[in-house]
């Protein structure tokens, strides 16, 4: 009887390992939609979290507002100074936007740079923080879809990996499974040079961009943007600046090491970018 029990236990463990391997395989494949079961489970978790987190949030808000009030005066002065320039800048932007629109209508093209942003708040992140990924409080009901770009005010930080009804799971650009050969544009002296994201170098904390044509003359300090050539990413979203350039191992193309503009460690609120659907049909 005892032996039979042990054999059963062994079978259960073996079965468990097989299921684990299958699940790992399933989650590592490239999928462009989230199943209903995943959406339901994640939304249930997000819903209960908001109920349990409500009293905790009230306490945290009280403490943070007390600590913020100490710096409020000096911060207020700084912001006031910045605001003085705002009316002029707004006027300029309006004028340029109108001019841009007129010219585009004349040329009859839609811009890959046009996008709408959805503001979202980070509601939870994995306690082990191996991959820096997190969950936000906006989902498909707010217009979020899989593979949309996610940025902070500083720059691009990740993509929407799974979009649920009222929450979404964001994978950071620093996670090596998320980049999916994203096309980027490096601006050198005003002219664009194209490349693709290869991986994130964890040891040096730099993003590696490959397939850059030889003699492109890119150098340290050049800005790196999304190119809008592939995927649902709009064009012109800042990724970072070039920190180092080197030839690839065969000498056929160049690789660039990029310092990310967005800080992956300290993210509280993000923007999900919804690219103009017209420009994606082209």
């Amino acid at each position: 009887m005892n032996r039979l029990f042990n054999r059963n236990k062994m079978l259960i463990i073996l079965f468990g390992i097989i299921v684990l391997i299958l699940l790992i395989g399933f989650s590592m494949t490239d999928r462009d939609s989230t199943t209903k079961a995943e959406q339901f489970t994640a939304d249930a978790a997000a819903g209960t979290q908001s109920v349990i987190g409500a009293p905790l949030n009230i306490i945290t808000n009280i403490f943070s507002s007390i600590s913020q009030s100490f710096n409020a005066v000096s911060e207020n002065e700084d912001l006031r100074e910045q605001l003085d320039m705002l009316p002029q800048m707004e006027e300029d932007i309006e004028r340029l936007e109108a001019e841009n629109e007129e010219l585009r209508e004349a040329l009859d093209v839609s811009s890959k740079r046009e996008y709408e942003s959805i503001n979202a708040r980070v509601i939870s992140r994995s306690p082990d923080q191996w991959l820096d990924s997190f969950t936000i409080d906006k989902g498909t009901s707010d217009g979020v879809e899989e593979d949309m770009a996610v940025m902070t005010s500083e720059g691009l930080i990740g993509t929407v990996n799974r979009a649920n009804g009222g929450s979404s799971y964001i994978e950071m650009i620093t996670t090596n499974t998320s980049q999916d050969n994203l096309s980027v544009e490096i601006t050198h002296d005003g002219s664009p040079v194209y490349g693709t994201i290869s991986h994130f170098d964890n040891e040096r904390n730099l993003l590696v961009i490959e397939n850059i044509k030889n003699r492109s003359e890119i150098e340290e300090g050049d800005d790196v943007f999304t190119s809008g050539l592939a995927g649902d990413f709009p064009e012109g979203i800042i990724i970072g600046t070039v920190a180092e350039v080197e030839n690839d191992e065969y000498g056929l193309s160049q690789n660039a090491y990029v310092q990310l503009a967005g800080n992956a460690d300290d993210v509280d609120s993000v923007f999900v970018l919804q690219r103009d659907p017209e420009s994606m049909e082209e």
Binding site: K9, I13, G16, I17, V19, L20, L22, L23, I24, F26, S27, M28, E38, T41, A42, A44, A45, A46, T48, Q49, I52, G53, L56, S124, R125, S126, P127, D128, Q129, W130, L131, S133, F134, T135, N161, Y169, E171, T175, N176, T177, N202, E203, D265
Partner: protein, 172 residues
Amino acid sequence: MKAIVIFIASLVFMYADFLFAEISPVTISGLEVYFVPRLLLMYILLISIYISPSMSAFTGIVFGIMLDVYIGSVYGVHTFGIAAFVAFMHTAFRVFYRDVVAMAFVILLLTFVYESYIFLIYRVLDLVSLPVFDYLALRAAPSLLLNALLFIIIFVTALKTSKVRNNLQSKH
């Protein structure tokens, strides 16, 4: 009634785990030190002793799925991990007599092994490339210290949970 208390306590511990991610990593003399709490895992392991292994395994699988789908990039890691650790706890604890020190030691050891198990899976999948020594010094050791401190809260909660009546009408 007991099942409801276990479910609510597990939910609270799961979100308490998430809250620690807000303060971790802590930068100490230029090094990022990660404190990873395992409140939920410790609670589920204690349930297997004070209540029942089957209840513990069931809670483990339910919350494992929730963790995997809600905050996980790789499915199955937490679901399989928690269930396997409950089974292991049940087997390992039969060797020890039921005294608190031995039990605390086993549970803290299992939180360390659980952290290492996740590290191993991510290393195999090439998602992380942290050297083993850095992992031990900057993650495993600080997390073990944090979990040793938090163990007291979990232990008291698990004891209180075990005293909750199974049924509301069991007085008669």
